[in-house]
Amino acid sequence: MILLTEQLLNGLQYGVTLFLLAAGLTLIFGIMGVINLAHGAFYMAGAFAASWVAIQTGSFWGGLLAGLLVSGLIGVLVEVGVIRRLYARDHLDQVLATFALILILNQGTVLIFGRQPLFSSMPEIFSGSVEILPGLPYPVYRLFVIVVGLTVAAGLYLLINRTRIGMLVRAGATNREMVRALGVDIRRLYTTVFGLGALLAGLAGVMASPIVSVQVGMGDEIILATFVVVVIGGVGSVKGAFVAGLLLGLADTMLRAFLPSLLAQVMSGPEAQALGTGISSMGIYLMMAIVLLLRPRGLFAAQG
C-alpha cells in the first residue's frame, strides 16, 4: 500500500513534467501547425540557465527566474527568426529546420558551458522529506514539482477559457484560417504562444534540474515522450496534454515498478526483470499505438 502510494506520487510528478513540456508543444502544433522538434532545446535552456545562475548567486529562485526568462526569450527569437518563415511550408520543411535548430542550440550550449554536466542543487527548504503516510517519507521537492505543475495547469485553464488571448488560442486551435480572416494580429498571437510554450518547457527544465543531470542533449531524450503525450492527448488540446501527460507518467512509472515483479510470478527473477523493463520501455509507445488505432485523432481532438 505504501509502495503503491509512493509510486502513484512518482507517476504524478513525472506526469506534470511531461504536461509542462507538452502544453506548449500541443499549442504550437495545433495553432500554428508547426512540428517543432527543437522544443526539447527550451527545456535544456531553462535547466542550464537556472543551474548556472543558481551556482553564481546561490539562489534557486534567481535561477528559476533566469531559466524562465532565457527559455522564453530564446523561444521568441526562434519564432521571429526561423519559425515565422515556416508557417506556410509543409511539415517536412519544418522538420528539417527544427532539426537544424537542435544542432545549433546543442552545440551553442557546448560552446557556452563546455561539455561537462552542470552542478545543480535544490533550495534548502525543499531538500528534506516529509512523512505523508506512516512509514512513507517523500521528498518535499517532488511534492513541490507536483504543486507547481498542477498550479500551471489551473492557470492555463483560466488563461485559455477566461481571457481574450485564450479565446483566440481556442479559435486558432479549432480553425486556423478563421482567426486569420477575423483580422486578428496573428503574428503577435503566434509569437506570444510560441514564447509561452518555450517558457513552459523552460519551467519543466528548471523543475527537473535538481533531479536529473543538466547536460547537453537532455532535451532530446524527453522530446519523444512529449510528442507521444501531445498525440495521445489530441493535437492542439491543452486539456488532452494534461490528461495524457498524467496518464503516461502514471503508466510508465507503474509499469516499471510492478511489471517485473508480476512477471516474476511466472518466470525466473532476472529474466522477469529484463523482460519487464523491456516491455515498460515500450509501454508508452504501445499505449500510443493502441490509442491511435482506436481513436485516430487522440483522446481530445481539438480540430474537427
Binding site: S121, P139, S213, V216, T277, S281
Partner: protein, 380 residues
C-alpha cells in the same frame, strides 16, 4: 603518384632521424553529445602523457559522434590517406567493435584508452590490439569484491537494460557471492523515483548501481533526495563516480563506496606528475579516470615509440607496446595473455573536502594483480 610520394618520404626519412617530425597518432574519440567530456578527458590526458615521455608526436583528433559509421570513416582516412599506423581514443564499445577489426585487417595498431568489450577480449583477441584501461567486466567484479569485503550479504543491483548493464550485474554478482536482486532501468531513463521506492521496499544491505554519465548523476541525486543515502550503503564501479560526476552531484555523493584502478590521491611519482601537469594545463577541469586512462595510454605509446624510434617498424612497435615498459600512474601494470591489463583494484570512499565538496579517498587494495575472465579464451 602514391608510390612517388612514398619514395619521397623514404628519401626524407633517410636524411633526417625518423621521428624528428613527430609520429602521427590517430585519436578517434567522442567529443559531441552528452558524453563529449569523456573524449575530451581522454584526448587531453593523452597529450600530457605523451609530452611526459618526451617523444615528438602529432595527435590527429577527430570526433566520432558515438557513431560506428563515422568512426570507421575516420579510421579509414587516417590509415589509408595519412599513413597513420597507431590508432587510439575510442570511448564506446560499439565504435570500437566497428573500428578495431578494420584496423587489424590493415595491420595497424590499436591501443584502447577506455572501451574493453568482451567480444574482442576472448577468442577474437588480436596481437595488434591493446587495452590500457580495463576489461569491462573487471570494473564490476571489483565492486562485488568490495561489497563482499565489507561483509554485506544481500544486495540490490541496478543497471540499464542492455548488454553492458547485464554484464555489470553479472560481474558484480560473480565476486559478491551473496544474494543479489536485480532491477533493470530504462536505457534513456532519467527519473529513478520508482526504483528508489523498490530499493526501500527490498531493504538490502547494499546497493550496487551502474549508470555512466548523465544517468549516474541523476541516480546519485535522487538517491540522496529519497533519503536512501546514509540509510543503505552504495557500492559503484569507477564509471559511476568520476570526478565530473562528483562535481555535478555535489554533496549527494558523500559516503558512496567506489572501486577503481586509480585514484587522485595515489602516492606515486607518476601520478603526482600527472596531477601537476593536468592542473597546470587545465586548471578549470577536474581530472577524471578517463583523463588518467588517456594519460597512461600516452605514457605507454610514448615509451614504446621512444624504445623503437617512431612507428616505421610496426612489428618492433608492437613488441615494445607488449612489454609495457612504462611506469603507470596506477602502480602495478602488465598486459595479460589477451593484452588487456593485469592490475590492482582499490576501494575508495567519497568524503567531503575542506570546502565541503565531495572527493574520492582511496581506502585500500581489494584485488591484486587480476586480469579478466576472457583471457583464457584468447589464443594469440
Amino acid at each position: 603518384m602514391k608510390k612517388l610520394l612514398l619514395t619521397a618520404s623514404l628519401v626524407l626519412a633517410a636524411a633526417t632521424p625518423l621521428w624528428a617530425e613527430g609520429t602521427k597518432i590517430g585519436v578517434i574519440t567522442t567529443l559531441s553529445g552528452p558524453a563529449g567530456y569523456l573524449g575530451e578527458q581522454i584526448r587531453d590526458g593523452m597529450k600530457l602523457g605523451l609530452e611526459a615521455t618526451g617523444v615528438p608526436f602529432e595527435l590527429v583528433v577527430e570526433d566520432d559522434g558515438r557513431d560506428p559509421n563515422t568512426g570507421l570513416q575516420i579510421a579509414d582516412r587516417m590509415m589509408n590517406e595519412e599513413g597513420i599506423k597507431l590508432l587510439t581514443g575510442i570511448v564506446f564499445s560499439n565504435v570500437a567493435m566497428a573500428v578495431v577489426p578494420e584496423a587489424m585487417d590493415l595491420g595497424a595498431l590499436y591501443v584502447s584508452p577506455n572501451a574493453g568489450p568482451s567480444p574482442l577480449a576472448g577468442a577474437k583477441c588480436n596481437a595488434n590490439y591493446f587495452v590500457v584501461s580495463w576489461q569491462n567486466d573487471s570494473l564490476h567484479e571489483a565492486a562485488g569484491a568490495a561489497a563482499k569485503g565489507r561483509g554485506y550479504k544481500t544486495a540490490v543491483a541496478l543497471a540499464p537494460n542492455y548488454q553492458a548493464g547485464k554484464d555489470a550485474i553479472a560481474g558484480f554478482s560473480r565476486e559478491f557471492g551473496g544474494e543479489v536482486s536485480e532491477i533493470y532501468t530504462g536505457v534513456d531513463q532519467s527519473d529513478f523515483a520508482s526504483e528508489m521506492a523498490q530499493i526501500r521496499d527490498r531493504a538490502p544491505d547494499v546497493v550496487f548501481q551502474f549508470h555512466p554519465g548523465g544517468q549516474g548523476i541523476a541516480f546519485l541525486k535522487q538517491y540522496q533526495q529519497s533519503g536512501l543515502l546514509g540509510a543503505v550503503p552504495m557500492v559503484v564501479a569507477e564509471p559511476s563516480f568520476d570526478a565530473v560526476i562528483l562535481k555535478a552531484v555535489g554533496p549527494a555523493a558523500l559516503g558512496v563506496i567506489g572501486t577503481t584502478h586509480w585514484g587522485a590521491d595515489f602516492d606515486n611519482e607518476a601520478s603526482r606528475q600527472m596531477l601537476a601537469a593536468w592542473s597546470a594545463a587545465y586548471p578549470d577541469k577536474p581530472l577524471t579516470n578517463y583523463g588518467q586512462q588517456g594519460y597512461d595510454t600516452g605514457l605507454l605509446i610514448g615509451s614504446a615509440l621512444q624504445q623503437v624510434g617512431g612507428d616505421a617498424d610496426v612489428d618492433a612497435l608492437r613488441a615494445a607496446l607488449k612489454e609495457a615498459n612504462f611506469i603507470s600512474t596506477r602502480g602495478n601494470f602488465a598486459f595479460g595473455p589477451n593484452q588487456h591489463p593485469v592490475q590492482d583494484w582499490f576501494v575508495t570512499e567519497v568524503v567531503a573536502d575542506e570546502a565541503g565538496n565531495p572527493k574520492s579517498v582511496t581506502k585500500g587494495k581489494i584485488r591484486e594483480q587480476v586480469g579478466d575472465v576472457y583471457a583464457a579464451d584468447c589464443k594469440m
